[in-house]
């Protein structure tokens, strides 16, 4: 190492604790991590946690937008397919949803990049300003809306065959009321479960989408850290990701309680 003295190398080894046994290094890492200290990035020497947290809002915004689009598209289409079960509209929607599920998000992203600037050049494509969230959010949302549509359809079909739905219809309720107030709530338990799973999956898929669309979130950080072998950043990223997924799971459990009081007593 040109220009670096042996004393400097020794000092760096001491600072990084490289002279200690591996288990001591691991235990120290965990102890420091519990206190919010994930070390410093190798490139830039910044505190890892602060660096990652500075990118977290961008990632959460993209995930929330993508999830919003997925729900906004998936739920109505799922309703429509369930309501028209066995008809051409159901078959068409389910065929489209199979295409959606099969479509890799990076491929959809690239297709959007190739077409949108040609026809809709007012939509930003390269990560600048709030409007630049549109394409990455669409990429994430369109793919996962197919999953939500399929899940909504099957959950609604199951509920629509229940006796209480027949009762509601028998007393002359409008079908929109039957669907929205009587059928949707019991069906939403499984839909919410899927949305929770999608959230985790979407956070993972975002790593690629963020890089395709130059969205400056955690996904960009993760890929770059891997390329630069920035181990502290990668470790911090994995722990932060896991914490987010666990938090979302807990929130989902609480939503279950709200949706279905039987879970509380059961």
């Amino acid at each position: 190492m040109e220009g670096v003295t042996p004393e400097q190398i020794e000092e760096m080894r001491r600072q990084l604790g490289l002279g200690q046994p591996a288990w001591v290094q691991s235990a120290l890492y965990v102890w420091h991590a519990i206190q919010g200290d994930f070390g410093h990035t190798i490139v830039g020497r910044e505190p890892v946690l602060g660096f990652l947290l500075s990118r977290l809002p961008a990632t959460l915004a993209l995930t929330a937008s993508g999830l919003g689009i997925a729900i906004a598209i998936g739920l109505p289409l799922g309703f429509l397919a369930a309501y028209n079960r066995g008809r051409w509209i159901d078959n068409t929607l389910m065929f489209i949803s199979v295409l959606g599920i099969s479509m890799p998000s990076f491929w959809l992203g690239l297709m959007l990049l190739l077409t949108v600037p040609v026809y809709l050049d007012f939509i930003p494509v390269a990560g600048e300003g709030p409007a630049s969230i549109i394409l990455p959010a669409l990429t994430l949302g369109l793919v996962y809306s197919a999953v939500i549509a399929r899940m909504t359809r099957s959950a609604m079909i199951e509920v629509l065959s229940e006796d209480f739905i027949r009762t509601a219809r028998a007393k002359g309720l409008r079908e929109t009321i039957v669907m929205s107030r009587h059928a949707f709530k019991p069906a939403s338990i499984s839909i919410v479960t899927v949305i929770g799973l999608i959230f985790g999956s979407m956070m993972g898929g975002q790593v690629i989408v963020e890089n395709v669309f130059s969205w400056n979130g955690l996904g960009r950080v993760a890929v770059l850290a891997m390329q630069q072998r920035d181990y502290p950043t990668i470790q911090g990223f994995i722990i932060l990701f896991a914490a987010i997924i666990v938090t979302v799971s807990v929130i989902l459990d609480m939503i279950y309680l709200w949706i279905d009081p039987r879970v509380r007593t059961g």
């Binding site: 040109e2 220009g3 670096v4 003295t5 400097q8 490139v43 830039g44 690239l110 990049l113 190739l114 949108v116 600037p117 040609v118 050049d121 007012f122 939509i123 930003p124 494509v125 390269a126 990560g127 600048e128 300003g129 709030p130 409007a131 549109i134 027949r166 219809r169 028998a170 007393k171 002359g172 309720l173 409008r174 079908e175 929109t176 009321i177 890089n211 395709v212 669309f213 130059s214 400056n216 960009r220 950080v221 890929v223 770059l224 390329q227 072998r229």
Partner: protein, 568 residues
């Protein structure tokens, strides 16, 4: 329109479809379902009946308004870039650091030199012109350099830039933690004599003055190092640093007080445009999509995209002509049979460098014959062609047969390389070239840092599978790449031995034509022995695409991007 459907044995109404079918012709308050149930009956069971026509109109109006507002906002947002006079450059990678002395690499240096002006400048013919220094003297022993600094120079923050600032720069560059500024190695000290900065070296440093005009040696202002230990680049250059959002963008603003001394630039004062932004867009498709939509003004294309844009009259491809870059290959010389000159020559004869340039780099660069930065004095491609090995598969086979290799006893050879756009395809073609002459070749591709560590180790081996490896060098001094790679141990333990050390030392001791002749002797030695083979020039980050309407861009030496003359 269908308004009911069968559900088991019951016929159930589909009111929302009924509503849609009737709103145009029937007064809302008298809507009935298709079973003839009056609205009053719905009300009687507690349903909230509303005026559907009015509600739908409101919803359509709200939707239309939202779309209109969104479209207007987006249009405004995209127009804002052009309106504020910002040159936006989309590149694949971010700068690693904006500190000149912390090893910023080419990506960082290209940004840093927009902020920092150098002491001297290089003209198109590589002659040295005044920069921040209005004149200079070099002692006969080439150990002492004196630079007379222009008076009245101001840094971007208003602090003066003078000889003391130059002294501070060299002292900063000489710190042990500094990397990437090899031209000041063996610095003895820096001092000030009035408005003259004096730089002394312990040993002769001929490459110094020319290197100062190159990409890496812009002058910082001392106020760049803040009292709290932080750093922000402050210089005297045409662009002022505003902000750096890591992995996103570096934003610079025009220095309105700038006075140009660069002979490449026509504009005598500040740049034409107000802002300069280097934006990170990792995906090739996204960069060109952003260029097409007008979101960015400059975009690094992949070589495949170069072919597409080249045929489109709406776009222009700018390729660096003075990069000083050259791609070359070498061998693990201690591993038999690569210690046999005939085998090395056979391998080089098998390589079709013209195809590498035309296919892998889409014809944007050229095959070279000399293992040296092209376009410099004494680098004569015709002479080098006489000394080296041209593409000749039959000659390659004959030399291999002479060395004892043939179809029944093929030479096993590994091509060890690192990933780089253009180079990846070039190595694939290289692999096929070697197979075509009967060499049992394999290709090993690594990430750059892993490659460097591996090849350093491989070059010390004396047995095992022989390896040929590729690398790139750049510079404005033809001897520097040899000193870096082939003299002594060399950067990758690829030193060529005592004869090479002697030839380079002799060349360094000479000047003018005599030095030129000595440099040619070195190249003749290297090429005739096939120790090193030249491949193409330039090799990396040397093309950028713009709309055809963009003018004034200049690629200077070492692919330094200059935007002072750019008009969008």
């Amino acid at each position: 329109m269908r308004t009911d459907r069968k559900e088991g044995n019951a016929v159930v109404p589909i009111p929302w479809l009924a509503t849609v079918s009737t709103t145009r012709s029937v007064a809302p308050t008298t809507i009935t379902s298709c079973q003839g149930v009056k609205m009053d009956q719905y009300r009687s069971i507690g349903l909230n009946i509303v005026n559907r026509d009015k509600q739908n109109r409101s919803r359509w109006f709200a939707s239309f308004t939202a779309v209109a507002v969104l479209t207007t906002a987006l249009s405004y947002g995209s127009a804002a870039n052009a309106a504020d006079g910002a040159i936006i450059v989309a590149r694949a990678l971010d700068v690693g650091t904006l500190d000149r002395d912390a090893g910023p690499g080419d990506m960082g240096n290209m940004v840093i030199r927009s902020i920092l002006d150098p002491l001297v400048l290089l003209d198109r013919d590589a002659s040295i012109k005044p920069g921040l220094a209005e004149s200079w003297e070099i002692s006969p022993d080439r150990l002492t350099y004196k630079f007379k600094i222009r008076s009245g120079l101001k840094c971007h923050d208003g602090t003066p830039f003078d000889a003391e600032a130059v002294k501070w720069n060299f002292e900063r560059m000489a710190r042990p933690e500094t990397t990437g500024v090899s031209a000041i190695r063996n610095l003895d000290d820096a001092s000030v004599e009035g408005d003259v900065a004096v730089i002394r070296f312990k040993t002769r440093n001929d490459a110094f003055i020319r290197a100062l005009g190159a990409l890496r040696y812009g002058m910082l202002c001392p106020s760049s190092d803040k009292a709290d230990g932080t750093f922000a680049p402050i210089g005297t250059g045409p662009w002022k640093f505003i902000s750096w959002t890591k992995n996103d963008k570096v934003r610079l603003e025009r220095n309105d007080d700038y006075v140009n001394h660069d002979p490449w630039i026509e504009n005598p004062g500040a740049p034409h445009e107000k802002f300069l932004e280097f934006r990170v867009v990792p995906e090739n498709v996204a960069r060109i999509a952003a260029l097409r939509s007008g979101e960015v003004n400059f975009a690094e294309p992949s070589y495949e995209q170069v072919a597409e844009l080249r045929n489109d009259p709406n776009y222009k491809i700018w390729a660096g002509e003075h990069s000083g870059q050259f791609a070359w290959g070498a061998f693990t010389l201690k591993v038999p049979p690569l210690d046999d000159r005939r085998v090395r020559q056979a391998v080089v004869h098998a390589m079709d460098r013209k195809t590498y340039s035309e296919i892998a780099f889409e014809g944007q660069n050229s095959p070279i014959n000399c293992p040296a930065p092209p376009n410099l004095p004494f680098i004569d491609q015709d002479l080098c062609a006489q000394w080296g090995q041209s593409y000749d598969p039959e000659k390659a086979k004959a030399l291999l047969a002479e060395a004892g290799y043939g179809p029944n006893n093929p030479l096993k050879l590994t091509i060890s390389v690192h990933q780089l756009p253009g180079w990846d395809l070039m190595h694939q073609i290289m692999l096929q070239n070697l197979k075509d002459v009967g060499i049992d070749a394999t290709l090993e591709t690594r990430e750059a840092s892993a490659f460097m560590a591996d090849i350093k180790e491989q070059n010390t081996r004396t047995e095992g599978i022989p390896i040929t490896w590729t690398w790139g060098s750049s510079g404005l001094d033809p001897l520097s790449p040899y000193e870096q790679q082939f003299v002594g141990a060399g950067q990758f333990n690829g030193g060529l031995g005592a004869e090479m050390d002697k030839l380079v030392a002799e060349a360094r001791s000479l000047e003018g034509d005599a030095q030129g002749k000595a440099i040619q002797n070195i190249m003749q030695y290297i090429l005739s022995e096939a120790f090193v083979y030249p491949i193409v020039s330039p090799g990396w980050q040397f093309v950028i695409a713009t709309k055809s309407s963009t003018t004034g861009f200049v690629y200077q030496y070492l692919n330094m991007m200059n935007f002072n003359d750019v008009k969008l």
